[in-house]
Subunit: 349 residues, 2 copies
Amino acid sequence: MLEDKTPQRTSLSQLGEFGLIDHLTKNFDVKQPSTLKSIGDDAAVLDFKDKKVVVSTDLLIEGVHFDLSYMPLRHLGYKAVVVNVSDICAMNAKPTQITVSVAVSNRFPLEALEELFDGIALAAKFYNVDVIGGDTTSSQKGLIISITAIGEANEVDIVYRDGANNGDLLVVTGDLGSAYMGLQVLEREKQVFQVNPNNQPDLDAYTYLIERQLKPEARHDIKDLLEKLEVKPTSMIDISDGLSSEIIHICKQSKVGCNLYEEKIPVDPQFINVCEEFNIDSTTVAINGGEDYELLFTIALEDFDKIKANPNFTVIGHLTQESEGIHLVTRANTKIPLKARGWDALSEE
Amino acid sequence: MLEDKTPQRTSLSQLGEFGLIDHLTKNFDVKQPSTLKSIGDDAAVLDFKDKKVVVSTDLLIEGVHFDLSYMPLRHLGYKAVVVNVSDICAMNAKPTQITVSVAVSNRFPLEALEELFDGIALAAKFYNVDVIGGDTTSSQKGLIISITAIGEANEVDIVYRDGANNGDLLVVTGDLGSAYMGLQVLEREKQVFQVNPNNQPDLDAYTYLIERQLKPEARHDIKDLLEKLEVKPTSMIDISDGLSSEIIHICKQSKVGCNLYEEKIPVDPQFINVCEEFNIDSTTVAINGGEDYELLFTIALEDFDKIKANPNFTVIGHLTQESEGIHLVTRANTKIPLKARGWDALSEE
């Protein structure tokens, strides 16, 4: 049917709602044993046997959470899945299913939605999650994506935000701040492009940062890794809004204080170079940047030996009594109260 | 804190994202034993023990799915829950949890969101479902609501769309078409209001229709009722897009045909009166109207005696071999092929 149309721009109205859903979801295989019934009925049916079920949801709005002028639709689809899978990983659970709802305005041809769903399918395959349902509808303006992620875990393995104790170590996976600086690079290039559309940008010096922004990955490897090391975190959260914001969440819910050490915060050399180029303080970005989708967790002090040699983990601080407050200890050894704030709020000071 | 502000219009930016979520969700109690952890972590944690898990999701967009000029926000919140709970009921499962994501533009004050969440809370209480998570963000335009509903059922009780057999009876709960005519009444009043804002409409003759449109209910009573009658449907679906569309879904997925009898379709007397007033063919609306959220199901012929005296159920047709096709048998005893089409498509003929 579709082959008769102009291959580049097929109007969504040619397919109709049910035709569109069939077309976009036909490549979604069922791989999880817990998926009894996937797309095609009023609801999906799942069977988790003796496992607990973990559920998280996120809403992504064009112009608020992403800018299609530098975010290719395939990457956006991939990232939308990652953001939700990351929340399941932050519970120390295994992601198993997602539902995907999409609303688009008429300006999107079928081929654009195919790109988006290609990215969703790629991420679903990589993270081994089944796409079990969703909704496709029209919007008044722009693209809207709503994803709900479902995971499973043994009750004893689940890690909440409120289990951290005075004396625990604060640990982070990977490195921080690069996703934010990748966004700064892309926004600068967009402005250059608007002035001179013929300008061909040389982005070789920014590849890592741009990849961290456009194709982040959820740390679905950490659950198995910690299991092998025989470490169960006392609390855990994923870094979506920025390190300081997440530390404050853990401290408030666990009723503890924290000392975060500036010199310990892991960053990439490319990140340092680009912060200098942009004349931005790298620590401020590493602390407030967001969208890194690394995991932040706390462990008992006696578990330190088990993780200290592992390149995936960096100890960046330790927890204190609640009354001591939440502080950044700078390289100059001064203590600054940590606040949850994005870059924009900071730059007004 | 809030008491110091002007009570009528509190800007959302005064609260911030986390403050807003805390404020809007503070009244959501946990009632379901399957909810181990609700709002407040990266994800909710649920425990269904030996039950199967049923999941459905819907995305509602202002200007596409609802019009705030005649849909009060409290009703909208209520209806958004109903639409999703109805999908769980259509699996013959018991709704247990929902997640609620909302995006709003800056034109909405806090008080508007409070109205919306009051409606959501009211429906959650009525249907005994826990609100276990969600997301609150800004939109570029209008109000966007994404709800995922979760339910539980014994595997043996779950009813799919694909189990109908040749010779089965086609049964519907309640009556049809009124929600659509309620919408017509509201749209007419909106136009009258735009011409003369001082005109006070007298809507007494339309109360049932308007209630069906603004405050529909999901048939969460039907599962227990069928259990008491010892009837397990062979297939089931909820009527959201219109009777003809849902019959076609069941027939296609079950590989059967169907004869639907015009004279059997249950409608309310007020509905008939208003169709006459609007000069619209009542059968066309009853078949294509949508948004009634009644349940359509099929039963084995030998179960007829168990349901025939029950005022909740009307037998409206019977299933045939697939090769016989899907037809409406009119009062004049002519057979017309049934098509899935909304009112707008029809009116072009």
